[in-house]
């Protein structure tokens, strides 16, 4: 594929792997967090971690929008989906995320009309085509997907599509990062920054990380060479004693972000006082809800939802896994109460979460060497 294969060149990958070796301090163990689930996916898909020495460890961060949705919100979604006449729409990977009792896929099997869409605009189209049904979109994602929800709501308002509404679960990436960084037992040396979020919000919101917390962050693209180069840039900063936000993904991320997207978002959304994250608990000002001007499209107002908080099981230690304090197998419920088939924590929910990956692939002993 043109314009894609160039970023997947194996020879260049080997060369970069060599350059990474050259900047490592012998005997030192490095823990780098890739913040975004998209990076986790690339790392997994291309086997990028296999090209790294054993003492460069990648920790999967809180940036998988599906995994961070807490059980109570899934329950709310299921309650709305079960309303008479509702067509419930969401992204495909959301349907398998467990609520306190069921997933949306279970609700569908029990009779709810749950449909997977690739875009919120598809949900709006379904609303247009079914004027006698209530169509609800379960909106999830970080600043990456929030603008598309915002534009869809703008269009719904302009076209006066009254049977469309939205359960807004959009979250923002900076507050959970700050929460991780505030933790006294944090063991991370640097961050692979979320390239697509930065396309919208720019580089500036991340500058506090090197300034206040002394950890480098490199905004990274999603092709394997992007990720390897970003790892190299972080390690080079550490080797040279520098600590700053660098932008590896210059072909897409402007420093100021996408001003028009930010404008639409601020029109349609406002910050929630606090929001619960699966595995991380409540984080203040970490999520979005619909602004007063768009309240009419808020499904949480339109339908009765239980709104009950379902506590993460006490024994679940996703927070510690995310901070890099413990390894998945050190969690008290790992492999016993918490398995991929019956996931408790965020790290087990997504197949690419740290715990699910370890559960499935832990016995694949890599012959990687430490340097």
């Amino acid at each position: 594929m043109k314009f894609v294969d160039e970023f997947r060149n194996a020879q260049l990958g080997q060369a970069l792997a060599g350059e990474i070796l050259a900047v490592l301090e012998p005997g030192r163990h490095y823990k780098l967090m890739e913040v975004c689930g998209g990076h986790t996916h690339s790392i997994y898909k291309y086997g990028i971690d296999d090209l790294l020495p054993a003492n460069v460890e990648l920790v999967h961060g809180p940036g998988c929008p599906v995994c961070v949705i807490p059980m109570g919100r899934v329950d709310d979604g299921i309650a709305v989906a079960r309303h008479e006449g509702v067509i419930f729409t969401c992204f495909g990977d959301m349907v398998r995320v467990p609520g306190s009792e069921y997933t949306l896929l279970d609700a569908k099997a029990q009779g709810a009309d749950v449909r997977m869409v690739y875009s919120p605009l598809d949900a709006l189209r379904i609303a247009r085509e079914n004027p006698d049904r209530e169509v609800v979109f379960f909106a999830i994602g970080f600043e990456t997907t929030a603008p598309s929800t915002a534009l869809t709501l703008k269009r719904a308002k302009a076209e006066q599509i009254a049977n469309f509404s939205c359960i807004c679960n959009h979250v923002t990436i900076v507050p959970p990062l700050r929460a991780l960084l505030e933790s006294p037992d944090l063991r991370l040396d640097g961050f692979i920054g979320p390239g697509h979020v930065c396309t919208v919000v720019g580089a500036r919101p991340f500058e506090f990380i090197p300034r206040q917390y002394g950890r480098p962050l490199v905004i990274s693209g999603f092709e394997p060479l992007d990720v390897l180069q970003s790892i190299h840039l972080i390690l080079r900063q550490l080797a040279e004693g520098r600590c700053e936000v660098e932008n590896q993904y210059t072909r897409v991320v402007p420093r100021e972000g996408n001003l028009r997207a930010l404008e639409v978002m601020s029109e349609v959304f406002e910050l929630r006082a606090h929001f619960e994250w699966r595995g991380l608990g409540f984080i203040s000002q970490s999520a979005l809800r619909l602004s007063d001007a768009y309240r009419q499209f808020d499904a949480e107002e339109r339908f009765e939802v239980p709104g009950v908080r379902v506590a993460d099981p006490k024994a679940c230690q996703c927070g510690e896994v995310l901070k890099g304090v413990i390894k998945p197998w050190e969690c008290k419920v790992f492999g016993t109460a918490c398995t991929p088939e019956h996931a408790i924590g965020t790290c087990m929910v997504s197949p690419e979460g740290a715990c699910a990956a370890y559960y499935n692939f832990g016995r694949f002993a890599r012959e990687r060497q430490a340097v």
Partner: protein, 369 residues
């Protein structure tokens, strides 16, 4: 300068063992309801089959069923026959490169073929929805007749049911087939797979599933891609002729794609499998569509592609024989069986890394065949 990675600590080792024990147990079916995932060919399907069907039906008697091959073997007066059955609920009924009728014949013929059986006869059973357009039915009957003719099987029996509008979606077709197990194919089984075996595929992968997804029209994507549906008996015949008992095991890579088949066989035979991504034939249209839709062609369904495990000394001959079969010109050797770690499938990515290529967990493509 370098030191090897420290061995797993005692606790980590114990937990890995607990997981291993849990994984190797026969899955138990505990779900409250059937979801689409139970039909997707991944872990949920496996739990349904091995946790509910096999214990009830095989109960220590039917070794043929317990083997869970594509077709079961029965011996009648000294002749070994293979028998198999399949239902087809594909939507839309017609798609580029094929239709439900053609699939219904080829799907069952192929389950026989990869069991080493020359397909002989089929039964065809139809469930029709009240109100179905008769011309649509005529077209599918034609498609069934033509496909059976091409595959060299007779249709010897059938059944028709009409259900109320809404109780079925247009039409469903079920076919049952019998075939005579070829004398050259007595050894074909997962047990015959050995470390060192080369793994072949009979052509570019993922075309059927991609054609169906695009034909559903929900993605606003247009591409010239046709289903790969065809009878695999000519390919099996050629392989048996070329390498005989060096052909160890065959599967058609339908639901769940090549990745699922290879996982199943690695598990059943206790070998590890290494697949070389760069050697897997994928047409540019399929890889572009997969890229856009965020799916992996290794998990996309095929309806006319087989995966063969062949003894290493016979691999070149097998590949040459396969390539000489019309429709298999782009057959390729894509990987190898290894002794360690048993049951695991690894992928050497084109980028130069290695990763585990696991069984499918969920359901990316509902009702694909």
């Amino acid at each position: 300068m370098s030191t090897s990675e420290p061995v797993a600590s005692g606790r980590e080792q114990r937990i890995l063992e607990i997981i291993e024990t849990a994984r190797s147990k026969r899955p138990r079916f505990r779900d409250e309801r059937i979801t689409l995932a139970h039909g997707a060919g991944g872990k949920a399907s496996q739990t349904l089959v091995e946790g509910l069907f096999v214990p009830a039906f095989a109960a220590g008697q039917s070794a043929a069923l317990a083997a869970l091959a594509d077709a079961g073997a029965v011996e009648v007066a000294g002749t070994r026959l293979a028998m198999t059955t399949d239902s087809f609920v594909v939507k839309p009924l017609r798609f580029p490169g094929g239709s439900i009728g053609e699939l219904a014949v080829n799907g069952t013929v192929n389950d026989l073929a990869v069991s080493g059986a020359r397909p002989l006869a089929l039964s065809v059973s139809m469930i029709l929805e009240e109100g179905l357009d008769a011309d649509l039915l005529r077209a599918e009957v034609d498609a069934i007749a033509t496909a059976a003719n091409t595959a060299g099987v007779e249709i010897v029996s059938g059944d028709t049911k009409v259900v109320e509008r809404g109780a079925a979606d247009q039409m469903y077709v079920c076919t049952t087939g019998i075939g005579a197990i070829d004398p050259r194919a007595q050894q074909l089984a997962p047990d015959a797979i050995a470390a060192g075996d080369q793994i072949l595929v009979s052509g570019p992968i993922g075309e059927h599933g991609t054609a169906i997804m695009l034909a559903r029209g929900q993605f606003d994507l247009d591409a010239e891609i046709e289903s790969d549906t065809c009878s695999l008996w000519p390919a099996v015949d050629a392989l048996l002729e070329a390498v005989g008992s060096d052909l160890h095991c065959l599967r058609d890579a339908t639901r769940g794609g090549v990745a699922s088949v290879v996982n199943e066989l690695a598990r059943a035979s206790g070998v590890a499998v290494v697949v070389r991504e760069a050697d897997v034939p994928v047409s540019p249209i399929v890889s572009a569509a997969a890229e856009l839709l965020g799916i992996d062609p290794m998990y996309v369904a095929n309806e006319g592609r087989l995966v063969a495990f062949v003894a290493p000394q016979a691999a070149d001959r097998a590949l040459d024989a396969l390539k000489a079969v019309p429709g298999c010109e782009r057959a390729a050797a894509i990987g190898q069986a290894r002794p360690e770690p048993p049951g695991l499938v690894l992928m050497e990515t084109s980028f130069g890394g290695r990763r585990v290529m696991d069984q499918l967990v969920g359901d990316p493509l509902p009702r694909i065949c």
